[in-house]
């Protein structure tokens, strides 16, 4: 009967989920071992590797830089994206289609190529400061997420409420702030959260645009991995996973998890 087929999908499904989750659990376990190399099973139990994270300047600096850049880039993309999305959903000209493609263009470009192009054009050719170029790169990364979610939210929003307020005498600007914004706040927040985490996690762009004083956390971990083979990376990975968990809980409390699944 069909139970055979169902059984097969169930088996593959369970195996796949285990396959996805097991390696992450592995990392958490290896972060506590006393051996100076990454090994499993672990011998002994220690928090030493966690303490070691803080002794690494590149990690602490990198974390701060990553957070700052992610915040600024997400904020910038929200500030630019909001008016842009509003304009795009109101006007239906050929130009707005083109503009929409422009805003979503970074998705079409491989991130490595984006990183390289920005590096060679902004940093080398135009002599821009590294931090600004990095910020711009992350801004480009965040834009598509913000724009997509904002357009989605605006399209679901019933604009007749807004038009009603105009008829009743509210100016367009104040109508925007009082009517539109509160109703799409979910989209704004989820756009911001999604931008933040994708900027924080980004590697290909950051790896091209890092340098002497500008250090992102994922890049620092990468560099550390090249020369060291100890469980400190497990420890900081576990910390990052904890951050992801907190992030997901925040998103769940405010918006429900479905908002993250496009």
């Amino acid at each position: 009967m069909t139970t055979n087929k169902h059984l097969l999908t169930k088996i593959i499904g369970i195996v796949t989920i285990v396959f996805l989750v097991f390696p992450l659990i592995l990392i958490v376990v290896t972060s506590f071992g006393t051996e100076p190399t990454i090994s499993f099973p672990i011998k002994g139990f220690t928090f030493a590797w966690y303490a070691n994270i803080f002794s690494q300047d590149s990690f602490t600096q990198g974390f701060i830089t990553s957070v700052v850049i992610a915040l600024l880039a997400s904020l910038a993309s929200a500030l630019v994206g909001l008016p842009a999305a509003y304009a795009l959903t109101r006007g239906e000209t050929k130009f707005s289609h083109f503009l929409e493609s422009v805003f979503l263009a970074p998705v079409m470009v491989p991130e490595v190529v984006l990183g390289f192009s920005l590096y060679s054009s902004l940093v080398i050719y135009a002599r821009f400061p590294l931090f600004l170029s990095l910020l711009f790169g992350h801004f480009l990364i965040c834009m598509p997420y913000t724009i997509r979610l904002l357009i989605g939210g605006l399209e679901q929003f019933d604009s007749s409420i807004e038009e009603a307020s105009w008829v009743l005498g509210t100016s367009r600007l104040s109508g925007f702030f009082k009517m539109v914004l509160p109703n799409i706040s979910t989209s704004i927040i989820s756009g911001f959260l999604l931008s933040f985490i994708n900027s924080f996690n980004n590697i290909p762009v950051s790896v091209f645009l890092s340098g002497a004083n500008v250090n992102m956390l994922p890049t620092s971990i990468l560099n550390y991995l090249q020369n060291n083979y100890d469980p400190t990376v497990s420890a900081i990975s576990t910390c990052l996973m904890l951050l992801t968990l907190i992030f997901m809980l925040m998103a769940e409390k405010k918006l429900g998890l479905k908002s993250l699944i496009n």
Binding site: K5, I12, V102, S117, N201, P204, I221, T244
Partner: protein, 249 residues
């Protein structure tokens, strides 16, 4: 649409393209990149489709919990996700320890820094994306169609191929586009799990640009990558439109 990325300094002339492409090492890199992407995509399709079908049939807490487990890796840093494979495939990692424990080997085998380890990493990275892409369509699967086919005498296996899968083709093609292009252009995975011995296009690009300062070669690689990515996306989208036309009953 390509307004922003045409910042890439095009110091390259037609000559440098010929020079680059006729180099055997470079051809090898391109070949490796494409084959890794193909194999990874194939595995992901094999594992992803049944999983999303199974998940779509669940309900309630179980479903939400499992879906959360699938989404969690997507939001986790890719350094972490690739590093996990170092703990598995490394010299004192779990795989080697298991083989030693079973007395199959005496000294550790090097699983890392091979094409296989890159494939493992890429599958691990993009599988959740495939599942999430498919889950929406899987939920729309009509069990009545399955029952109808069953009553008409079709064997279950054939039902899967002729009834279930065709309903999912749009989602499958979307997923394949995302995964294949992602696998083609991924950087972190081949860097961590392939190292400098096994270069793919993205790591070659990095090496040429940052380690060797060879801007021309880097620009060439970058342009080739964009072209391939766009071309594949375009092809798959056309294929999707054709399939969609056939689907409208």
């Amino acid at each position: 649409m390509m307004v922003l990325p045409t910042f890439s300094s095009s110091e390259d002339s037609a000559n440098s393209y010929f020079g680059f492409l006729s180099n055997q090492q470079n051809q090898l890199v391109i070949l490796r990149t494409v084959s890794i992407a193909l194999v990874s995509t194939f595995i992901i399709v094999l594992l992803g489709i049944p999983t999303s079908i199974w998940l779509s049939k669940l309900s309630g807490f179980k479903k939400t919990f499992l879906l959360t487990l699938v989404v969690f890796p997507i939001l986790t840093n890719s350094v972490v996700r690739n590093y996990a494979w170092i703990t598995i495939l490394g010299n004192s990692g779990i795989l080697n320890n298991l083989l030693k424990f079973l007395h199959i080997i005496n000294s550790p085998l090097s699983f890392l820094y091979t094409d296989g380890s890159i494939i493992a990493g890429i599958v691990y990275l993009f599988l959740p994306i495939m599942i999430i892409t498919l889950i929406g369509e899987s939920e729309k699967l009509d069990p009545e169609l399955d029952n109808a086919a069953l009553m008409l005498g079709t064997r279950p296996a054939k039902i899967f191929w002729k009834v279930t899968i065709p309903q999912l083709t749009t989602g499958i093609i979307t997923g394949v586009t995302l995964v294949f292009v992602g696998a083609l252009t991924a950087y972190t995975t081949p860097q961590i799990l392939g190292g400098n011995q096994r270069l793919v296009m993205s790591t070659l690009l990095y090496q040429q640009a940052m380690t060797l300062g060879n801007w021309q070669a880097a620009s060439v690689i970058a342009t080739i990558m964009i072209v391939i990515a766009l071309f594949v996306t375009f092809l798959l989208r056309k294929f999707q439109k054709k399939v969609d036309k056939r689907k409208t009953l």
